[in-house]
């Protein structure tokens, strides 16, 4: 049953009032791989992400997850199927503590999220698992601090910990390294490598050294269309890709 391809798109297209942001994109993400989506600014990478997680509704085309057509599924339900995304700007709950942030991720499967008559202390039994997750990303020492007080790189780590709390089958990371300093980049890259062990990761990333180190497969987008696909060495030699990144190749 476990087919080789976990996520597939067929002819994915998104039009905004006549402007085609994504045109006929067909992706095949292999199970267990780290798949990177790269391309110059405005190539439609984030739009593809929003389409995959259903934050945007495609104008055309299909999305299949584990062979099931999820084109018409709502965003929260996509998450319930096991695809959890991150955001370009670190998405934490700023006024909740670091520990509470992770517990929001752990809480849903308990099925008590509508119980307004119970004390929140019933959530304390999640603390053990939450601390484990925080330790995993090096945030155990910050557990009681409001998330808003964390430095940027640590917010991203917290976001990943919250994401992992849901045990997702697949992670979609939207520019996980955006706005980070060197040591943070190394730490998050190592973290991504580590959590990819039994998961599939699809990420949008601008930092090409990170992309070359981490990813098994790369899809290059330009102007909303797939320009090239392959392993890093292969793709980086591709003349069209060089042109898209460097500007005109004729100079």
């Amino acid at each position: 049953m476990a087919s080789d391809v976990i996520l597939e798109t067929r002819g994915l297209t998104k039009e905004f009032r006549g402007f085609v942001a994504v045109r006929d994109v067909s992706l095949r993400v292999k199970r267990g791989s780290i798949h990177a989506l790269i391309g110059p600014n405005g190539a439609g990478k984030t739009t593809v992400f929003n389409l995959l997680t259903k934050f945007l509704q495609p104008s055309n085309g299909h999305i299949l997850f584990n062979g099931r057509d999820i084109t018409a599924v709502k965003p929260a339900d996509v998450a319930r199927l096991g695809i959890i995304r991150s955001f370009q700007i670190s998405a934490v709950f700023p006024h909740l503590s670091v520990l509470e942030n992770v517990r929001v991720g752990l809480q849903r499967p308990l099925g008590n999220s509508f119980q307004f008559w119970k004390s929140e202390s019933v959530l304390d039994r999640l603390n053990g698992r939450a601390m484990e997750l925080l330790e995993d990303v090096g945030l155990a020492g910050y557990a009681q601090r409001p998330a808003a007080e964390l430095p940027y790189g640590r917010k991203r780590a917290l976001e990943i910990a919250t994401t992992l709390a849901l045990e997702p089958e697949m992670l979609l990371l939207d520019e996980p390294m955006a706005g980070m300093g060197h040591e943070d980049i190394d730490r998050i890259a190592a973290l991504i490598k580590r959590v990819s062990a039994n998961r599939t990761i699809l990420m949008v990333e601008h930092n090409l050294s990170v992309v070359s180190n981490l990813s098994d497969w790369i899809t290059v987008l330009a102007r909303g269309e797939v320009l090239a696909e392959g392993a890093y060495a292969e793709v980086s030699r591709h003349p069209k890709v060089r042109e898209a990144y460097m500007g005109s190749g004729h100079a």
Binding site: A76, F93, P94, L96, R108, S113, F116, K118
Partner: protein, 327 residues
């Protein structure tokens, strides 16, 4: 305007972090003592009015402070319940507790219907839809037979609570109102500090992220809306028994505005802020009514001063200054 409210809310929301705080418990104990002693010092009807509006404001605050939804139609729930309670007690001859219960149930149902329509939209559009729907309730109150049009429903008997306690005695009435208020307040407190409250805060802080974690956020918002409408109805029904009347004032849009004002003055997203805000506004109205000053102008000036000087509201500002950073 929507973003402004957003900004105010973010600033005031800080105390939500961490365990049930001892300062909260101490403040609650102090409030309780003051309220138990109040009718011996102050005019009981005045304090009852404060309590009804305080509960109304607390219910409203549950929605704006903890779910981040600005409703501009809460008068429909407050006034709607007042009419139902007044009618069932006066015409059907129900005992007061049942009348209030029916009024509250009516508001809960109305909240479910209004909420289901309004939460499809965000920000200012949400506020406008709630306003439009509440105006419909206003016109119904004006036109329907049983509501008495411009006169409203007057001379509602206070009756006997559970058939034994005579509510025409103002002290009995007072302690009944106090019990209703405390019940509502504790329900809100519990809701805020419940598994549900935790998700609600997460949605308020970052809705797309909550969705991406698999929460169907509309369901949570609707739940918060219904809870808020229900408690606003409880306040309105109780008010109808205290003052023995339900009038158009209760369902007018100014009433929706007044509750926004009370909550803002006291401090959005704080547990005690709406109580303080309601007490302040009701007190001002009462004392200014006797003077020659135009009441709305004075309250307006105070409101502007508040927004300029302490945007977190009275309680929010105190909490920020003395509570400091809770670890």
């Amino acid at each position: 305007m929507a973003t402004e409210i957003h900004a105010v809310r973010r600033e005031t929301a800080a105390p939500a972090t961490g365990r049930p705080a001892t300062p909260d418990l101490l403040a609650f104990a102090a409030l309780l003592l003051v309220l138990i002693a109040a009718p011996y010092v102050l005019y009981p009807v005045f304090v009852m009015k404060v309590l009804c509006f305080a509960l109304f404001a607390c219910a409203f605050n549950l929605l704006i402070g903890f779910a981040g939804l600005l409703s501009f139609g809460h008068a429909a729930f407050f006034g709607g319940a007042a009419y139902i309670t007044a009618h069932t007690v006066k015409v059907w001859g129900l005992p007061p507790e049942l009348g209030i219960l029916l009024g509250t149930a009516f508001s809960a149902t109305l909240g479910l219907a209004f909420g289901a329509l309004a939460i499809r939209r965000q920000g200012i559009y949400f506020a406008m839809i709630t306003l439009a729907l509440s105006q419909m309730v206003f016109f119904m109150a004006l036109q329907l037979k049983f509501t008495g049009g411009e006169d409203g429903i007057q001379a509602v008997p206070r009756g006997h609570l559970f058939g034994v306690i005579d509510l025409s005695n103002s002290l009995s009435m007072y302690y009944f109102v106090l019990a209703v208020f405390l019940f509502g307040f504790v329900v809100i407190w519990r809701t805020v500090h419940s598994p549900f409250g935790q998700v609600l805060k997460a949605i308020r802080e970052n809705e797309p992220r909550a969705i991406s974690l698999g929460y169907r956020t509309d369901h949570y918002k609707l739940m918060a809306f219904v809870l808020s409408a229900t408690l606003a109805g409880l306040a309105g029904g109780t008010k109808a028994i205290v003052f023995q009347l339900a009038t158009l004032t209760d369902v007018q849009w100014q009433m929706s505005g007044a509750v926004v004002l009370m909550t803002l003055l006291g401090g959005i997203g704080t547990l005690f802020g709406p109580v303080v805000g309601a007490a302040l506004v009701v007190t001002l109205e009462n004392y200014l009514a006797a003077s020659n000053l135009p009441v709305p102008v004075v309250i307006g000036v105070i409101f502007v001063a508040c927004v300029l000087l302490f945007r977190r509201g009275i309680v929010g500002e105190i909490a920020a200054r003395f509570g400091g950073k809770r670890s």
